[in-house]
């Protein structure tokens, strides 16, 4: 399926990209934090509240059936996108953080004191703190795969870090702060040889390239809807059926039960066992629409365009004196973190904002990475396929103007 990729055609589908910030056109380079939404997703949300709103899974009436069908169809769309074997393996969550907390609190309950969890030095706080919490509760040990100066995982010592006590390996597919694409295939294979289960944090990867959970053979995968052109407040946890069946429920409430008496409760089947309470219905339907839309695009062309943007911006930034890029891995997604000697990221971010450029400054919820490089934070420009070379030129000019003001 080869289609011609036209960035202008893509941009025309994102109404927010027409925004002006003062007299400047918006240049949105904060896609790592959240992506913008195409018109089809906005229309889908509007349609839901205008014509379909009803609670799902319980009503016999027409609207309830419509919204239930749409919600469950969204689950199937997402299943197909990830190439999961069954739709029961697709659990709707609030987002990546919620998904990791679910695994940590549910799978974690089956672990014993002394069991080990292996994560990496480049994780987002949401893939550190939930493990530290369950480790503290249950006497587990959290270990870290180290990284090198380029921001790549050092896998030489992986065989020593993986022990017979390692039960979970949880790592990010793509680093939100550095852009590094981790060789997850290799790590999944090594972990499985030791009998450990693997959680992939795909919050920063699925919006850039397709993954196949069966080919990868990961045990769990989590991601957020809002970073992949869908609504906020919804995300996905993929888990292998046998594992999800073996795990205890995470939250109790409506929808997750089969029968409830004063004495005891029997739990519902997958996926509902992990979906207590009325879910974010419009979120799920909107996410399904976003993924349907994404699937209709030429994903190879998208990736080529993003790689092109990354190379173009990297070259332009490297030409600026005293600028240092953090994260120079051989395999990178379209994210660039940098600092300029003698300037504070907050000053740069503020002056870029005044010129219509949206970037992120700070530690990006990855304080261990900042500690590694001994820096307080960076300026991060993260690109999506709706961004253009012209926007990068605008960004570089704005950056030069900011530097002139701060010198």
């Amino acid at each position: 399926m080869m289609m011609k990729f036209s960035v202008n055609d893509i941009r025309a589908q994102f109404p927010i990209l027409q925004t002006k910030i003062g007299k400047y056109p918006l240049v949105y380079f904060d896609n790592g934090a959240t992506s913008q939404k195409p018109q089809v997703v906005i229309d889908c949300i509007n349609q839901y509240y205008s014509a379909e709103n009803a609670n799902i899974h319980r009503g016999v009436h027409h609207l309830s059936q419509v919204s239930t069908t749409n919600y469950e169809n969204a689950r199937k769309t997402i299943q197909a996108y990830l190439n999961a074997e069954k739709s029961e393996e697709i659990i709707f969550t609030k987002g990546t953080t919620d998904g990791i907390n679910l695994i940590a609190q549910s799978f974690g309950r089956m672990l014993k004191a002394g069991d080990e969890i292996l994560i990496t030095e480049m994780e987002h706080h949401s893939n550190i703190v939930p493990w530290q919490m369950v480790a503290q509760e249950r006497g587990l040990v959290v270990k870290y795969i180290p990284m090198n100066e380029a921001g790549e995982l050092k896998l030489e010592g992986l065989d020593d870090l993986l022990t017979d006590r390692t039960k979970i390996v949880s790592l990010t597919h793509v680093s939100n702060a550095l852009g590094t694409i981790n060789p997850i295939e290799k790590i999944i294979e090594a972990a499985h040889q030791k009998g450990a289960k693997v959680v992939i944090d795909a919050a920063q990867s699925l919006q850039h390239f397709k993954v196949d959970v069966q080919a990868l053979d990961c045990d769990f995968m989590v991601f957020s809807g809002h970073k992949i052109f869908g609504p906020t407040g919804v995300g996905i946890l993929y888990g292998k059926e046998d594992l999800l069946n073996a795990m205890p429920p995470y939250q109790g409430g409506g929808d997750m039960i089969k029968t409830v008496s004063m004495k005891e409760t029997t739990y519902n089947d997958l996926p509902h066992k992990f979906e207590a309470g009325t879910p974010n219905i419009v979120g799920g339907i909107g996410l399904g629409k976003a993924i349907e839309w994404l699937s209709s695009l030429d994903l190879e062309a998208i990736q080529a365009h993003e790689n092109d943007l990354l190379a173009y911006a990297t070259t332009a930034l490297e030409a600026i004196p005293n600028l240092k890029i953090y994260g120079t891995a051989a395999q990178k997604s379209s994210t660039i973190s940098f600092l300029i000697e003698g300037t504070h990221p907050y000053d740069i971010g503020t002056l870029l904002n005044q010129q219509g450029i949206a970037v992120r400054t700070g530690h990006h919820c990855t304080q261990p990475i900042m500690d590694f490089f001994e820096i307080p934070g960076t300026i991060r420009a993260s690109f999506s396929f709706y961004n253009t070379h012209g926007e990068i030129d605008q960004f570089i000019n704005a950056l030069k103007k900011a530097l002139a003001m701060l010198s």
Partner: protein, 139 residues
């Protein structure tokens, strides 16, 4: 000059500039005249929490008036704290506690530095008022 008079002067100074980039240049200039905090006071406990950059603030009383000194590791934060010190330093604790600081809105600082954790403008004002309250109780 009263606090209100000093605010009025600042509003007038900012009115000259049409473009916000020019206003920022002015803020950066103001930062260069910031009464710097003594190194001894540049401690962890004098850091204002809630700013993305490091801002140190000290206050002491001289003849019934509160005198502020500060420093920051970011140039714009330095300019903003200088702006606030310009208005609030050398005033009585009561005057500082009661200051409405309408110039912040009048200049448009509020909308350009939205009160989020990233800029700490709100945190700076709060800390200055806390100092005034503390020094008022001491007397």
């Amino acid at each position: 000059m009263t606090i209100e008079e000093k605010e009025r002067e600042l509003i007038d100074s900012f009115a000259i500039y049409e473009d916000w980039m020019e206003k920022y240049e002015y803020i950066i200039e103001l930062g260069k005249d910031l009464p710097l905090i003594a190194d001894d006071y540049k401690t962890e406990e004098n850091i204002i929490k809630g700013c993305q950059s490091m801002v140190w603030l000290h206050a002491e009383k001289k003849d019934d008036k509160v005198v502020f000194t500060a420093d920051a590791d970011a140039i714009i934060a330095k300019g903003i704290i200088a702006l606030l010190i310009d208005v609030l330093s050398n005033e009585t604790p009561e005057a500082i506690m009661n200051a409405k600081l309408e110039f912040i809105n009048a200049i448009g600082l509020q909308e350009h530095l939205s009160p989020t954790r990233s800029n700490g403008l709100v945190a700076m004002v709060k800390q200055m008022k806390m100092y005034a309250i503390a020094l008022n109780m001491k007397q």
